[in-house]
Symmetry: C2
């Protein structure tokens, strides 16, 4: 994550992961989520914060989930069920449940299929927010599989040359295991930046950079500027402008619609007039590595490749070359040992919420 | 394709597709490729030119293939064979054959698996150049499937913050059928621009734009400039700079390595010191739409979505909004009727080559 998005040191409060997990699970239960689902939701959120992905951890997401449960826009006790199935494929109806909580079960189905026939691909429709989709890709990587997960949601991104928004930020993720190196976990919005980064930039007082947002007539804004109010901009696809490859960001966003929305028999966001509350359509895939090649060879080659990337000579002005998942892995080690930094404003929200629900206060360090 | 890459009108010669296909197949046979394979190779190349994708059609590619066959770097009679297989997965050894010719057979295997169990994913190693990978994704779309194909090849792209190149341009493609609208065909290098575009820019005298290439120390070049000589630059990932999302282009390139190189049990380009002649590792996937949802619903929704995109209000200075595959579909209709424009310098190469091989001259319009 760019420095500009990080919580300023003077505003941060350190929280131990266990304490955060317990409080989040308790809050989920207070809005009607059964205990095991509440624990799963807390686990995904805190795992995301442990990896340093603040945009999709508790700070940005939990309050919107709580609000959605309170307003009846999320179903706390969904009837997750398979609507179509074959040995390598399935489509699941999430019945309005939170995707973040149901993702593990859906990826589990893809992994079962991969174990049986080599590959499993499962689409899920009618779910609430998914959180960081890379979390689900990683579930497969932990079981010696390659995992992928993407989600189509919202409609705030303008296609190349367009004056009207048509796509969500539609992130794509892939995870793969190594032996000594950190597992690869690539998880990226197909827009120039994740939607949540704009909220995060507003909270930490950071500017937006050229090529991230457009005017309301679709013209890319090519200068740095403070965050505008919601409704005063659209987001641009990865690439920003046609010359810099925005048609590729646009194409990847469309790929996510095809795999998630279309294959699950759903409408894409642009056809349902999507706002923030719209349900999402997602895609989960698992590849059993040993169905393709020797697992040990795979892991050895992963180690060699990742070491080579990590040891690549950096360009002037940079300390080192990363691979996707490396800095998040390092953040996880650090935060497990020293706590998760939350913005003091987030702590205030926790205090208000635990007070409202008559729960014990969140423990901080 | 950006205007800057198009053949200038005064330099173009129109060639009928049938004539081009016949001459290309005859040339392939002269370098040792059996008739049916030669026809398949000609078919893929000409289909690519018909769609207006000059970078991967006869102009840029055929001469390098001929050269590679002549120098023994391509096997004209490869023993394509499956090395590992399960109901939804397989890995294929291409035995040094041209990927462009073998891709149909490999995608065919993925499609067979998809018909049987819902999804098929096949990796192929040890092949020569694949041409435009979207061609193979489209084979699945024609059979009411979603098709994907990607290829890992070469090592001329610098990762984000790196001073040394580690990846090929590693394109990813997806194709999906509609009913009345043109099928979606997205096919894009995960680098800022395709490698072949640099050769094309040199031939048509176009400048390279900011964010496309780097200095030899990895620093992104952020001004427009003429094409440099090979060896005087590296290519940048999609995004160009970290701020504009080059870590995402880098991540997509790595995804292609994992699906193609690692899953097929091969080494990525960065571990084999890849040059232009290096064999490539590819990934083919087919999703049987009816294994996930109702096929008619899928196609109707595709039509609605693509019409909505096509009719989206354009931003100032633009005529219309495209979707991936639309302008290529229009080019195909036009070129089937009026011929394929080739640069006069390419016609000269054909004349030299048919003369060398004692073949009839390429017929032009």
């Amino acid at each position: 994550m760019l420095e500009r998005f990080k919580v300023p040191h003077e505003d941060e409060v350190l929280v131990p992961a266990d304490s955060l997990r317990g409080t989040v699970a308790a809050i989920f239960q207070k809005v009607g989520v059964p205990r095991r689902d509440a624990e799963e939701g807390a686990d995904v959120l805190v795992a995301t914060d442990l990896r340093g992905v603040e945009t999709h951890g508790v700070s940005n997401m939990l309050r919107s989930y709580v609000q959605a449960y309170k307003e009846g826009r999320l179903n706390p006790r969904p009837n997750w069920h398979i609507v179509r199935e074959s040995p390598a494929a399935a489509t699941v109806d999430a019945d309005g449940g939170l995707g973040l909580i149901l993702g593990k079960r859906t990826m589990g189905l893809a992994m079962e299929k991969a174990k049986a026939v080599g590959v499993g691909a499962v689409t899920m429709f009618n779910s609430g927010h998914m959180g960081a989709v890379g979390h689900f890709a990683m579930l497969a990587a932990r079981e010696d599989m390659v995992g992928m997960c993407s989600v189509a949601t919202g409609a705030g991104i303008v296609p190349t040359f367009a004056a009207e928004p048509r796509f969500g930020t539609n992130p794509i993720s892939i995870a793969a295991p190594a032996r000594k190196e950190a597992p690869v976990l690539f998880d990226a919005a197909t827009s120039a930046i994740a939607g949540n980064k704009i909220g995060l930039a507003a909270r930490v007082g950071a500017n937006l950079l050229p090529g991230w947002i457009s005017e309301l007539d679709g013209t890319p804004i090519m200068e740095e500027m403070p965050v505008r109010e919601r409704g005063q901009y659209y987001q641009l696809p990865l690439g920003g402008t046609r010359e810099q490859g925005s048609h590729k960001g646009y194409g990847f966003a469309l790929m996510v619609e095809i795999l998630g929305s279309l294959l699950s028999g759903s409408l894409p966001g642009m056809l349902i007039g999507a706002g923030m509350g719209t349900l999402s359509r997602s895609y989960f895939a698992a590849y059993d590595i040993s169905a393709f090649t020797d697992l040990d060879t795979f892991k050895d080659t992963m180690d060699q490749m990742l070491q080579k990337l990590r040891e690549t000579k950096p360009a002037p002005g940079h300390d080192r070359v990363l691979y996707p998942g490396l800095s998040e892995y390092e953040a996880e080690l650090d935060r497990k040992a020293h706590g998760i930094p939350l913005h003091k404003e987030v702590i205030q929200w926790f205090n208000d919420t635990t007070s409202e629900f008559s729960l014990p206060r969140l423990k901080t360090l």
